[in-house]
Protein backbone atom coordinates (compact mmCIF):
# COMPACT_ATOMS: atom_id res chain seq x y z
CA UNK A 1 0.00 0.00 0.00
CA UNK A 2 1.52 3.29 -0.97
CA UNK A 3 1.53 6.45 1.04
CA UNK A 4 -1.43 8.02 -0.73
CA UNK A 5 -3.48 4.92 -0.29
CA UNK A 6 -2.65 4.89 3.40
CA UNK A 7 -3.63 8.50 3.80
CA UNK A 8 -6.90 7.89 2.03
CA UNK A 9 -7.61 4.94 4.31
CA UNK A 10 -6.88 6.99 7.37
CA UNK A 11 -9.25 9.75 6.27
CA UNK A 12 -11.85 7.12 5.48
CA UNK A 13 -11.45 5.69 8.99
CA UNK A 14 -11.77 9.11 10.53
CA UNK A 15 -14.92 9.92 8.61
CA UNK A 16 -16.46 6.61 9.62
CA UNK A 17 -15.57 6.82 13.27
CA UNK A 18 -16.19 10.50 13.96
CA UNK A 19 -19.10 11.43 16.18
CA UNK A 20 -20.48 13.84 13.63
CA UNK A 21 -19.70 15.32 10.23
CA UNK A 22 -16.05 16.27 9.75
CA UNK A 23 -15.11 19.44 7.95
CA UNK A 24 -12.05 19.67 5.72
CA UNK A 25 -10.59 21.98 8.33
CA UNK A 26 -11.14 19.46 11.15
CA UNK A 27 -9.45 16.71 9.16
CA UNK A 28 -6.55 18.99 8.35
CA UNK A 29 -6.12 19.94 12.00
CA UNK A 30 -6.13 16.34 13.16
CA UNK A 31 -3.58 15.31 10.58
CA UNK A 32 -1.32 18.33 10.54
CA UNK A 33 1.39 16.82 12.71
CA UNK A 34 1.91 13.94 10.33
CA UNK A 35 1.14 15.31 6.94
CA UNK A 36 1.21 18.62 5.21
CA UNK A 37 -1.96 18.12 3.31
CA UNK A 38 -3.38 21.01 1.37
CA UNK A 39 -7.04 21.74 1.29
CA UNK A 40 -7.05 20.83 -2.35
CA UNK A 41 -5.40 17.45 -1.85
CA UNK A 42 -7.82 16.66 0.91
CA UNK A 43 -10.74 17.66 -1.26
CA UNK A 44 -9.46 15.32 -3.97
CA UNK A 45 -9.23 12.42 -1.54
CA UNK A 46 -12.76 13.04 -0.33
CA UNK A 47 -14.08 13.20 -3.88
CA UNK A 48 -12.40 9.89 -4.54
CA UNK A 49 -14.04 8.38 -1.47
CA UNK A 50 -17.40 9.75 -2.50
CA UNK A 51 -16.98 8.01 -5.83
CA UNK A 52 -15.88 4.75 -4.18
CA UNK A 53 -19.01 4.71 -2.08
CA UNK A 54 -21.47 6.08 -4.64
CA UNK A 55 -22.92 2.65 -5.39
CA UNK A 56 -22.47 1.05 -2.01
CA UNK A 57 -24.68 0.50 1.05
CA UNK A 58 -23.28 3.63 2.68
CA UNK A 59 -22.58 6.93 0.95
CA UNK A 60 -20.25 9.76 1.84
CA UNK A 61 -22.39 12.85 1.84
CA UNK A 62 -21.77 16.51 2.53
CA UNK A 63 -23.90 18.30 5.07
CA UNK A 64 -23.67 21.81 6.45
CA UNK A 65 -20.90 21.09 8.94
CA UNK A 66 -18.83 18.72 6.83
CA UNK A 67 -18.74 15.20 5.46
CA UNK A 68 -20.20 12.07 6.94
CA UNK A 69 -21.08 8.55 5.98
CA UNK A 70 -24.71 7.60 6.07
CA UNK A 71 -26.71 4.59 5.04
CA UNK A 72 -27.82 4.71 1.43
CA UNK A 73 -31.28 6.16 1.12
CA UNK A 74 -32.88 3.30 -0.75
CA UNK A 75 -32.31 0.93 2.15
CA UNK A 76 -33.67 3.14 4.89
CA UNK A 77 -36.94 1.28 5.16
CA UNK A 78 -35.41 -2.12 5.44
CA UNK A 79 -32.70 -1.04 7.80
CA UNK A 80 -35.40 0.45 9.93
CA UNK A 81 -36.50 -3.11 10.56
CA UNK A 82 -33.59 -3.37 12.93
CA UNK A 83 -35.28 -0.79 15.09
CA UNK A 84 -38.66 -2.28 15.45
CA UNK A 85 -40.70 -0.06 17.65
CA UNK A 86 -43.38 -2.00 19.40
CA UNK A 87 -46.79 -0.42 19.19
CA UNK A 88 -48.71 -0.33 22.46
CA UNK A 89 -51.24 -3.10 23.04
CA UNK A 90 -54.77 -2.37 22.01
CA UNK A 91 -56.98 -0.71 24.57
CA UNK A 92 -60.30 -2.05 25.63
CA UNK A 93 -62.02 0.71 23.64
CA UNK A 94 -60.10 -0.37 20.53
CA UNK A 95 -60.96 -4.05 20.98
CA UNK A 96 -64.62 -3.37 21.65
CA UNK A 97 -64.89 -1.15 18.61
CA UNK A 98 -63.18 -3.75 16.46
CA UNK A 99 -65.41 -6.53 17.78
CA UNK A 100 -68.55 -4.48 17.09
CA UNK A 101 -67.39 -3.81 13.55
CA UNK A 102 -66.62 -7.50 13.10
CA UNK A 103 -69.87 -8.86 14.53
CA UNK A 104 -72.31 -6.11 13.57
CA UNK A 105 -70.97 -4.94 10.23
CA UNK A 106 -71.77 -2.83 8.39
CA UNK A 107 -72.06 -0.40 11.24
CA UNK A 108 -71.68 3.35 11.64
CA UNK A 109 -69.53 5.02 14.21
CA UNK A 110 -72.67 6.45 15.79
CA UNK A 111 -74.10 3.00 16.20
CA UNK A 112 -70.95 1.80 17.86
CA UNK A 113 -71.15 4.75 20.20
CA UNK A 114 -74.76 3.96 20.99
CA UNK A 115 -73.99 0.39 21.90
CA UNK A 116 -70.86 1.13 23.86
CA UNK A 117 -72.49 4.10 25.55
CA UNK A 118 -69.40 6.24 25.04
CA UNK A 119 -68.01 8.13 22.11
CA UNK A 120 -65.50 6.41 19.86
CA UNK A 121 -62.40 8.49 19.21
CA UNK A 122 -61.36 9.21 15.65
CA UNK A 123 -57.95 7.83 16.62
CA UNK A 124 -59.41 4.37 17.14
CA UNK A 125 -61.14 4.30 13.76
CA UNK A 126 -58.03 5.70 12.11
CA UNK A 127 -55.76 3.13 13.72
CA UNK A 128 -57.99 0.27 12.62
CA UNK A 129 -58.14 1.66 9.11
CA UNK A 130 -54.37 2.16 8.95
CA UNK A 131 -53.87 -1.40 9.95
CA UNK A 132 -56.11 -2.36 7.07
CA UNK A 133 -58.46 -4.23 9.30
CA UNK A 134 -61.41 -1.91 8.80
CA UNK A 135 -62.66 -0.12 5.74
CA UNK A 136 -65.59 2.07 4.71
CA UNK A 137 -67.98 0.01 2.62
CA UNK A 138 -70.67 2.64 2.01
CA UNK A 139 -72.73 5.31 3.66
CA UNK A 140 -75.94 4.99 5.57
CA UNK A 141 -78.78 6.86 3.94
CA UNK A 142 -79.53 8.96 6.98
CA UNK A 143 -78.70 12.60 7.62
CA UNK A 144 -75.00 13.13 7.63
CA UNK A 145 -74.61 9.98 5.56
CA UNK A 146 -72.31 8.34 8.12
CA UNK A 147 -69.76 5.87 6.85
CA UNK A 148 -70.59 2.22 7.16
CA UNK A 149 -67.64 0.30 8.54
CA UNK A 150 -66.77 -3.31 7.85
CA UNK A 151 -63.79 -5.60 8.30
CA UNK A 152 -61.34 -6.42 5.51
CA UNK A 153 -59.77 -9.53 4.07
CA UNK A 154 -56.58 -8.64 5.92
CA UNK A 155 -58.56 -8.80 9.12
CA UNK A 156 -59.67 -12.32 8.27
CA UNK A 157 -56.13 -13.28 7.26
CA UNK A 158 -54.68 -11.98 10.49
CA UNK A 159 -57.05 -14.11 12.53
CA UNK A 160 -56.74 -17.04 10.13
CA UNK A 161 -60.42 -16.98 9.24
CA UNK A 162 -61.73 -17.94 5.84
CA UNK A 163 -64.90 -15.91 6.28
CA UNK A 164 -66.80 -13.93 8.86
CA UNK A 165 -68.93 -16.99 9.44
CA UNK A 166 -65.93 -18.49 11.18
CA UNK A 167 -65.91 -15.84 13.87
CA UNK A 168 -66.53 -17.59 17.18
CA UNK A 169 -70.18 -17.69 18.07
CA UNK A 170 -71.12 -15.36 20.81
CA UNK A 171 -72.74 -16.86 23.84
CA UNK A 172 -76.25 -15.62 24.49
CA UNK A 173 -75.91 -12.92 27.07
CA UNK A 174 -77.84 -14.91 29.62
CA UNK A 175 -75.25 -17.65 29.40
CA UNK A 176 -72.29 -15.45 29.99
CA UNK A 177 -71.44 -16.83 33.33
CA UNK A 178 -68.30 -14.86 33.70
CA UNK A 179 -69.09 -12.20 36.17
CA UNK A 180 -68.28 -8.76 34.92
CA UNK A 181 -65.29 -8.43 37.18
CA UNK A 182 -63.59 -11.30 35.46
CA UNK A 183 -64.25 -9.86 32.06
CA UNK A 184 -62.89 -6.51 33.12
CA UNK A 185 -59.88 -8.19 34.54
CA UNK A 186 -59.19 -10.05 31.36
CA UNK A 187 -59.63 -6.95 29.31
CA UNK A 188 -57.37 -5.01 31.58
CA UNK A 189 -54.63 -7.57 31.28
CA UNK A 190 -55.13 -7.44 27.56
CA UNK A 191 -54.67 -3.70 27.74
CA UNK A 192 -51.67 -3.81 30.01
Amino acid sequence: MNHNQQLKNLIESMLFVADGPLSIKAIQTTLEDDTALTRKQLQAIISELQLDYAERGVNLIEVASGFRFQAANEHADQIALLWKEKAPRYTRAMLETLSLIAYRQPITRGEIEDIRGVSVSSYIIKTLQERNWVKVVGHKEVPGRPALLATTEEFLDYFSLKSLAELPELMPVSEINLDTEQVDEQLETAEA
Binding site: A80, W83, R92, L95
Partner: protein, 287 residues
Protein backbone atom coordinates in the same frame (compact mmCIF):
# COMPACT_ATOMS: atom_id res chain seq x y z
CA UNK B 1 -2.58 10.10 50.48
CA UNK B 2 -2.41 12.64 47.72
CA UNK B 3 -1.14 12.58 44.19
CA UNK B 4 1.23 15.37 45.05
CA UNK B 5 2.92 12.95 47.36
CA UNK B 6 3.32 10.46 44.53
CA UNK B 7 4.69 13.12 42.28
CA UNK B 8 7.12 14.37 44.87
CA UNK B 9 8.65 10.95 45.16
CA UNK B 10 9.98 10.51 41.67
CA UNK B 11 10.19 7.19 39.91
CA UNK B 12 13.89 6.95 40.67
CA UNK B 13 13.32 7.68 44.29
CA UNK B 14 10.89 4.85 44.50
CA UNK B 15 13.27 2.40 42.96
CA UNK B 16 16.10 3.37 45.23
CA UNK B 17 13.66 3.26 48.09
CA UNK B 18 12.81 -0.28 47.23
CA UNK B 19 16.41 -1.26 47.00
CA UNK B 20 17.04 0.15 50.41
CA UNK B 21 13.98 -1.67 51.65
CA UNK B 22 15.51 -4.86 50.36
CA UNK B 23 18.55 -4.16 52.49
CA UNK B 24 16.46 -5.10 55.43
CA UNK B 25 17.20 -2.04 57.40
CA UNK B 26 13.60 -1.20 57.91
CA UNK B 27 13.78 -1.39 61.66
CA UNK B 28 16.39 1.32 61.71
CA UNK B 29 14.50 3.37 59.17
CA UNK B 30 11.39 3.37 61.21
CA UNK B 31 13.19 5.16 63.97
CA UNK B 32 14.15 7.86 61.57
CA UNK B 33 10.76 7.96 60.02
CA UNK B 34 8.88 8.50 63.20
CA UNK B 35 9.83 12.08 63.99
CA UNK B 36 9.50 13.05 60.36
CA UNK B 37 6.14 11.45 60.01
CA UNK B 38 4.71 14.32 61.97
CA UNK B 39 5.67 16.72 59.22
CA UNK B 40 3.72 16.52 56.02
CA UNK B 41 4.63 17.71 52.55
CA UNK B 42 8.04 18.77 51.33
CA UNK B 43 9.88 18.04 54.54
CA UNK B 44 9.69 14.33 53.86
CA UNK B 45 11.22 14.39 50.40
CA UNK B 46 13.53 17.29 50.88
CA UNK B 47 16.62 15.45 51.94
CA UNK B 48 16.28 11.71 51.76
CA UNK B 49 18.81 10.02 53.99
CA UNK B 50 20.47 6.96 52.69
CA UNK B 51 17.94 4.49 53.95
CA UNK B 52 15.09 6.83 54.40
CA UNK B 53 11.75 6.01 52.80
CA UNK B 54 9.36 8.93 52.59
CA UNK B 55 6.28 7.53 54.31
CA UNK B 56 3.97 8.58 51.54
CA UNK B 57 6.17 6.95 48.95
CA UNK B 58 6.24 3.73 50.88
CA UNK B 59 2.52 3.88 51.19
CA UNK B 60 2.26 4.11 47.43
CA UNK B 61 4.56 1.16 47.04
CA UNK B 62 2.65 -0.94 49.48
CA UNK B 63 -0.65 -0.02 47.96
CA UNK B 64 0.68 -1.16 44.63
CA UNK B 65 0.47 -4.73 45.85
CA UNK B 66 -2.72 -6.57 45.21
CA UNK B 67 -2.35 -8.53 48.43
CA UNK B 68 0.01 -10.81 50.36
CA UNK B 69 0.62 -13.16 47.43
CA UNK B 70 1.57 -10.24 45.24
CA UNK B 71 3.91 -8.89 47.90
CA UNK B 72 5.51 -12.29 48.38
CA UNK B 73 6.04 -12.69 44.65
CA UNK B 74 7.68 -9.29 44.63
CA UNK B 75 10.03 -10.21 47.46
CA UNK B 76 10.93 -13.52 45.86
CA UNK B 77 11.68 -11.79 42.56
CA UNK B 78 13.65 -9.03 44.11
CA UNK B 79 15.90 -11.54 45.87
CA UNK B 80 16.08 -13.89 42.90
CA UNK B 81 14.85 -16.71 45.05
CA UNK B 82 13.79 -19.89 43.37
CA UNK B 83 10.08 -20.21 43.76
CA UNK B 84 10.21 -24.00 43.96
CA UNK B 85 12.84 -23.93 46.64
CA UNK B 86 11.50 -21.14 48.72
CA UNK B 87 13.77 -20.01 51.59
CA UNK B 88 10.89 -19.60 53.96
CA UNK B 89 12.85 -18.20 56.89
CA UNK B 90 14.29 -15.39 54.89
CA UNK B 91 11.12 -14.55 53.01
CA UNK B 92 9.15 -14.53 56.23
CA UNK B 93 11.64 -12.14 57.75
CA UNK B 94 11.32 -9.71 54.87
CA UNK B 95 7.58 -10.05 54.69
CA UNK B 96 7.25 -9.21 58.35
CA UNK B 97 9.39 -6.15 57.92
CA UNK B 98 7.01 -4.83 55.30
CA UNK B 99 4.03 -5.65 57.45
CA UNK B 100 5.66 -3.84 60.36
CA UNK B 101 6.20 -0.78 58.22
CA UNK B 102 2.58 -0.92 57.17
CA UNK B 103 1.60 -1.04 60.81
CA UNK B 104 3.87 1.82 61.78
CA UNK B 105 2.37 3.90 58.99
CA UNK B 106 -1.02 3.06 60.39
CA UNK B 107 -2.04 1.75 56.98
CA UNK B 108 -5.35 0.01 56.98
CA UNK B 109 -3.67 -3.33 57.14
CA UNK B 110 -5.86 -5.84 55.43
CA UNK B 111 -6.48 -8.97 57.45
CA UNK B 112 -5.14 -10.99 54.53
CA UNK B 113 -1.61 -9.71 55.18
CA UNK B 114 -1.76 -10.93 58.77
CA UNK B 115 -3.21 -14.28 57.73
CA UNK B 116 -0.26 -14.71 55.38
CA UNK B 117 2.12 -13.81 58.20
CA UNK B 118 0.59 -16.59 60.26
CA UNK B 119 0.89 -19.05 57.39
CA UNK B 120 4.55 -18.17 56.90
CA UNK B 121 5.24 -18.52 60.60
CA UNK B 122 3.58 -21.91 60.61
CA UNK B 123 5.60 -23.14 57.63
CA UNK B 124 8.75 -21.86 59.24
CA UNK B 125 8.06 -23.64 62.48
CA UNK B 126 7.21 -26.88 60.72
CA UNK B 127 10.45 -26.74 58.79
CA UNK B 128 12.33 -26.31 62.03
CA UNK B 129 10.80 -29.44 63.51
CA UNK B 130 12.87 -32.60 63.17
CA UNK B 131 11.65 -34.60 60.19
CA UNK B 132 9.82 -37.73 61.23
CA UNK B 133 8.85 -39.01 57.82
CA UNK B 134 10.48 -39.45 54.47
CA UNK B 135 11.17 -36.16 52.82
CA UNK B 136 8.90 -36.33 49.82
CA UNK B 137 7.52 -33.30 48.11
CA UNK B 138 3.98 -33.90 49.26
CA UNK B 139 5.08 -33.43 52.79
CA UNK B 140 6.88 -30.16 52.21
CA UNK B 141 4.97 -27.58 54.23
CA UNK B 142 5.91 -25.03 51.56
CA UNK B 143 4.13 -26.96 48.82
CA UNK B 144 0.74 -25.38 49.32
CA UNK B 145 2.17 -21.87 49.49
CA UNK B 146 4.23 -22.44 46.36
CA UNK B 147 1.17 -23.79 44.55
CA UNK B 148 -0.79 -20.70 45.51
CA UNK B 149 2.01 -18.39 44.46
CA UNK B 150 2.24 -20.10 41.09
CA UNK B 151 -1.50 -20.00 40.58
CA UNK B 152 -1.59 -16.33 41.44
CA UNK B 153 1.36 -15.59 39.19
CA UNK B 154 -0.41 -17.23 36.26
CA UNK B 155 -3.55 -15.17 36.76
CA UNK B 156 -1.55 -12.01 37.30
CA UNK B 157 0.09 -12.54 33.92
CA UNK B 158 -3.25 -13.38 32.34
CA UNK B 159 -4.65 -10.09 33.64
CA UNK B 160 -1.72 -8.27 32.07
CA UNK B 161 -2.34 -10.10 28.79
CA UNK B 162 -6.01 -9.22 28.83
CA UNK B 163 -5.11 -5.62 29.49
CA UNK B 164 -2.97 -5.74 26.37
CA UNK B 165 -5.72 -7.10 24.14
CA UNK B 166 -7.06 -4.58 21.67
CA UNK B 167 -10.30 -3.36 23.15
CA UNK B 168 -13.17 -1.12 22.30
CA UNK B 169 -12.92 2.50 23.40
CA UNK B 170 -9.13 2.32 23.65
CA UNK B 171 -7.88 0.52 20.54
CA UNK B 172 -10.88 -0.45 18.47
CA UNK B 173 -13.06 2.25 17.01
CA UNK B 174 -16.48 1.60 15.61
CA UNK B 175 -18.01 3.43 12.69
CA UNK B 176 -20.76 5.85 13.47
CA UNK B 177 -23.03 5.74 10.46
CA UNK B 178 -26.44 7.31 10.59
CA UNK B 179 -29.57 6.55 8.70
CA UNK B 180 -30.73 9.12 6.19
CA UNK B 181 -33.03 11.86 7.42
CA UNK B 182 -35.95 10.26 5.66
CA UNK B 183 -35.79 7.23 7.92
CA UNK B 184 -38.87 6.42 9.90
CA UNK B 185 -38.86 3.60 12.40
CA UNK B 186 -41.08 0.74 11.41
CA UNK B 187 -43.71 0.10 14.01
CA UNK B 188 -44.54 -3.45 14.91
CA UNK B 189 -48.27 -3.62 15.31
CA UNK B 190 -49.78 -4.89 18.52
CA UNK B 191 -50.75 -8.53 18.65
CA UNK B 192 -54.43 -9.27 19.00
CA UNK B 193 -55.89 -12.66 19.75
CA UNK B 194 -59.26 -13.69 18.40
CA UNK B 195 -60.00 -14.50 22.01
CA UNK B 196 -59.46 -10.83 22.93
CA UNK B 197 -61.97 -9.86 20.31
CA UNK B 198 -64.63 -12.29 21.46
CA UNK B 199 -64.09 -11.29 25.04
CA UNK B 200 -64.45 -7.62 24.15
CA UNK B 201 -67.71 -8.33 22.34
CA UNK B 202 -69.09 -10.36 25.24
CA UNK B 203 -68.19 -7.51 27.51
CA UNK B 204 -70.06 -5.04 25.34
CA UNK B 205 -73.11 -7.28 25.17
CA UNK B 206 -73.16 -7.80 28.87
CA UNK B 207 -72.90 -4.10 29.53
CA UNK B 208 -75.58 -3.30 26.99
CA UNK B 209 -77.90 -5.81 28.61
CA UNK B 210 -77.36 -4.41 32.07
CA UNK B 211 -77.91 -0.94 30.71
CA UNK B 212 -81.10 -1.82 28.87
CA UNK B 213 -82.46 -3.71 31.81
CA UNK B 214 -82.06 -0.68 33.92
CA UNK B 215 -83.78 1.58 31.40
CA UNK B 216 -86.65 -0.71 30.66
CA UNK B 217 -87.49 -0.73 34.31
CA UNK B 218 -87.33 2.97 34.76
CA UNK B 219 -88.31 4.91 31.71
CA UNK B 220 -87.90 3.10 28.49
CA UNK B 221 -91.59 2.46 27.98
CA UNK B 222 -92.65 6.01 28.72
CA UNK B 223 -89.92 7.33 26.47
CA UNK B 224 -90.95 5.02 23.63
CA UNK B 225 -94.54 6.15 24.08
CA UNK B 226 -93.55 9.81 24.05
CA UNK B 227 -91.47 9.22 20.92
CA UNK B 228 -94.56 8.03 19.10
CA UNK B 229 -96.52 11.02 20.35
CA UNK B 230 -93.91 13.46 19.09
CA UNK B 231 -93.68 11.75 15.71
CA UNK B 232 -97.44 12.00 15.42
CA UNK B 233 -97.22 15.74 16.09
CA UNK B 234 -94.75 16.28 13.30
CA UNK B 235 -95.91 16.44 9.70
CA UNK B 236 -93.33 15.35 7.13
CA UNK B 237 -91.19 18.24 5.92
CA UNK B 238 -92.71 20.70 8.37
CA UNK B 239 -90.79 22.35 11.18
CA UNK B 240 -92.13 22.54 14.69
CA UNK B 241 -90.67 24.70 17.44
CA UNK B 242 -88.60 22.59 19.80
CA UNK B 243 -90.21 24.27 22.82
CA UNK B 244 -93.72 23.49 21.51
CA UNK B 245 -93.06 19.81 22.07
CA UNK B 246 -92.96 20.27 25.83
CA UNK B 247 -96.00 20.45 28.02
CA UNK B 248 -95.04 22.45 31.10
CA UNK B 249 -98.01 21.15 33.09
CA UNK B 250 -96.36 17.69 33.10
CA UNK B 251 -93.71 19.03 35.38
CA UNK B 252 -90.04 18.21 35.58
CA UNK B 253 -90.51 14.44 35.03
CA UNK B 254 -92.59 15.01 31.89
CA UNK B 255 -90.01 17.46 30.46
CA UNK B 256 -87.27 14.90 31.01
CA UNK B 257 -89.27 12.16 29.27
CA UNK B 258 -89.96 14.41 26.29
CA UNK B 259 -86.33 15.46 26.10
CA UNK B 260 -85.12 11.84 26.19
CA UNK B 261 -87.65 10.96 23.52
CA UNK B 262 -86.40 13.72 21.23
CA UNK B 263 -82.81 12.62 21.77
CA UNK B 264 -83.76 9.04 21.01
CA UNK B 265 -85.54 10.15 17.84
CA UNK B 266 -82.51 12.13 16.74
CA UNK B 267 -80.27 9.19 17.48
CA UNK B 268 -82.41 6.88 15.41
CA UNK B 269 -82.39 9.50 12.66
CA UNK B 270 -86.14 9.81 12.79
CA UNK B 271 -86.19 13.51 13.43
CA UNK B 272 -83.82 16.32 12.66
CA UNK B 273 -83.05 19.40 14.70
CA UNK B 274 -82.13 22.69 13.09
CA UNK B 275 -80.94 25.86 14.69
CA UNK B 276 -80.65 28.58 12.04
CA UNK B 277 -78.70 31.01 14.21
CA UNK B 278 -76.80 30.97 17.45
CA UNK B 279 -79.17 31.21 20.42
CA UNK B 280 -82.04 31.14 17.91
CA UNK B 281 -85.07 28.86 18.18
CA UNK B 282 -84.53 25.19 17.58
CA UNK B 283 -86.78 23.72 14.94
CA UNK B 284 -87.63 20.03 14.78
CA UNK B 285 -88.90 18.17 11.76
CA UNK B 286 -89.39 14.56 10.88
CA UNK B 287 -87.10 13.08 8.32
Amino acid sequence: MTTTAIDSASQNDKNSVLDSGRNSELGEMQQQVLPLALVHGEAMVEKPLDLFIPPDALEVILEAFEGPLDLLLYLIRKQKFDIVDLPVAEITHQYMEYVDVMKSLKLELAAEYLVMAAILAEIKSRLLLPKTTVDDEEDDPRAELIRRLQEYEIIKRAAEDIDELPRLERDVHLPNVDLPESYKPRVVEAQVDLQDLVLAMQGVLKRVEAFQHHHIQRENLSTRERMSQILAKLKPGQFVEFSDLFLLEEGRAGVVVTFLAILELIKESLVECVQSQVFGHIQVKSV
